[in-house]
Subunit: 378 residues, 2 copies
């Protein structure tokens, strides 16, 4: 059984459905991965995640390395046993987190030195370390160490970063080929192409990485501050030259609108903190626009709300009650909002896949955005 297969192509655009098969789950694509940095999605349990229907989420190598640390993960027999989760996990390498969280970081061609954002302790990661750590974590899909350029960045700086990234990814792949899994399950290694918004660099990056034997391909370094139109242009350019028979993963994206546009351009995988982070700030997604739980307009809204899908939260609790939970700082507020938003994203992706199968993705997109923008809750 191959790791990835494309199942349907939409006729008038690059949207496609497919299936990723790991030792632990069959993942229908396009897929959205919730963020469970330390092994659980904030404010909910892994059984909540399973109940919604998710069979993969994203955890983070940098964070897990610092806490609980490799000693515990190794002794536990890997992250799945540690957290009691039987489905797939993708671990990001942590390159991006080192850039955004750690302090006093210094990188040279050999690796990255940084201080922990938790206790200030000094650490050094080589590309090989990142593979070894992910072997210990035992995640199903793993990512190589890359250099994340800021935006905007000059062409020459982006090129220097790209050169280091390529060198690191090759070293990651070599180590990945030469060392072995620690537990029973096979792992899959993706590439991450970089090059900021420069098409010549993206082309070089993708072409060089295509020569190597990665299981899937991620587009890194987007959604870091550039305009959406520029992001879409780069995605469009990348998916034209990325191989068809490997999954394409757009890291760190995004809003429902971002996801629709990227799927239209041929993306298969997404991860993003926004449904869960927005939930914790009282913002709910729905098929009729976003809902601000905390709004004073919800004070006396006792009727159950139709969010355009079967929300286990809004089917049982009024906006007035959810607002009360938020203003009372009850942890339950975040749990309910997180479950609701992840139910929305799950249903949203399911409807997208169905529309591609029925060859009417673009009609779906148009109708969705029309309802979504004409927010009936504002």
């Amino acid at each position: 059984m191959s790791f990835f297969q494309v199942l349907c192509h939409n006729r008038n655009c690059k949207a496609r459905t497919g299936k990723i098969i790991t030792s632990r789950s069959e993942i229908s694509t396009p897929v959205f991965l919730p963020i469970g940095t330390l092994g659980s999605v904030k404010a909910i349990s892994n059984s909540d995640l399973e109940s919604i229907g998710y069979n993969i989420f994203l955890a983070n190598t940098y964070h897990l390395y610092l806490r609980p640390g490799v000693e515990i993960l190794h002794n536990a027999g890997g992250i799945h046993k540690f957290i009691n989760w039987q489905y797939s996990i993708l671990t990001d390498s942590g390159g991006f987190q080192i850039y955004s969280l750690a302090t006093l970081r210094k990188f040279d061609s050999d690796g990255i030195k940084f201080n922990s954002h938790i206790d200030g302790s000094t650490h050094f990661f080589t590309p090989e370390d990142i593979i070894e750590i992910q072997r210990i974590i035992g995640s199903d899909i793993i990512m190589p160490l890359d250099v994340c350029s800021e935006y905007p960045v000059s062409h020459s700086e982006a090129e220097t970063a790209l050169n280091i990234t390529h060198n690191w990814e090759k070293r990651c792949l070599e180590r990945f080929k030469s060392n072995r899994i620690k537990y029973e399950s096979k792992q899959f290694l993706f590439s991450i192409n970089q090059g900021s918004v420069f098409k010549d660099l993206r082309r070089r990056s993708i072409e060089e990485l295509n020569e190597l034997d990665f299981d899937g391909n991620a587009i890194g370094g987007l959604a870091v501050g550039e305009d959406n139109d520029i992001m879409y242009e780069v995605i469009d350019f990348c998916t034209d030259i990325l191989p068809v028979n490997k999954p394409r993963y757009l890291m760190g994206v995004g809003t429902p609108e971002n996801i629709l546009n990227a799927i239209e351009l041929g993306i298969d995988m997404f991860d993003c903190v926004i449904p869960t982070r927005n939930a914790r700030h009282g913002r709910l997604y729905s098929f009729f626009g976003e809902i601000n739980i905390k709004s004073s307009k919800n004070k006396l809204k006792f009727d159950l709300l139709d969010a355009g899908f079967n929300s286990s939260v809004l089917n049982n609790y009024s906006l007035s009650y959810l607002r009360h939970l938020f203003f009372s700082n009850e942890p339950l507020a975040m749990r309910f909002a997180t479950i609701h938003n992840l139910e929305f994203y799950f249903e949203f992706m399911k409807r997208i896949r169905k529309s591609i199968e029925e060859d009417n993705f673009q009609e779906f997109k148009k109708e969705f955005l029309n309802n979504y923008r004409n927010n009936k809750f504002t």
Copy 2:
């Protein structure tokens, strides 16, 4: 069907089982009420509470009056509809909270003036207000306004407080008899006897309140700093003169040991914050002693732990993982620990009732305390 009936008496002590019947649940006694101050137990949902088996919890009039406030509760059609909970709720009057949380409080014979602990706003509660507010809340068992003396207190101060309390409780009962329920369900009003640790005052309090037509009787003003032995002596004294055919409620108690001793002395109802508060600090209860999740000894404890009962949490998650959740400040840590501790308290009360039915409560108590004190986890 009467509100309360005694079912079994233990032969060699005052322990007894019984049944409280409200419009919403049949509650087996002795019973422990979890604390859901604002309508939900901190860190868990009401469906979690229902899954464990609870069919009553305690909410607080003072807190609900301030947030969400009577306007919202009235418009929602009462607290049960607002929070989507179909079983019973007992509301404390809030007298104790006004003493422990509110600022600038002043009481005279007519009522209490206080400033909100949330925004400093000034409020005034008469005994009648407390009944009216609980009519709007729509809780199943309601409590009158009382004056809570500190400990230690002089005999004359305790007597003054008692006089005011009796006057207030009579006014509460008059208002309760003259006004009507706001929704469909019948409400039941308890008395609260006071008198600190002075037996003559407790006797006077109980005898005077016994003349009046309350549905149950609470012992107030204990577990406020006095030694356990003194508390047990006062309980023993009170239960000798409290009527047999009404439920006896020891407010704000307690630890498993406190509960066993109080049941032996004839108490039927308890509420206490300790299982849920301790959970949030990483302390778990078990039939083999308490467990400190955060202990470094748990770092590599991956085997599932036997807590002497069927814990949905410890059956699925290791101490090492729970410790990781606590140190990572994941909200899930508090949820898991809260569910575990409430499962423990539920099972503990169930075993106590069974031992009374089988007339071996004192053997159960001895064996429990023996296992519990010889903590196998330390």
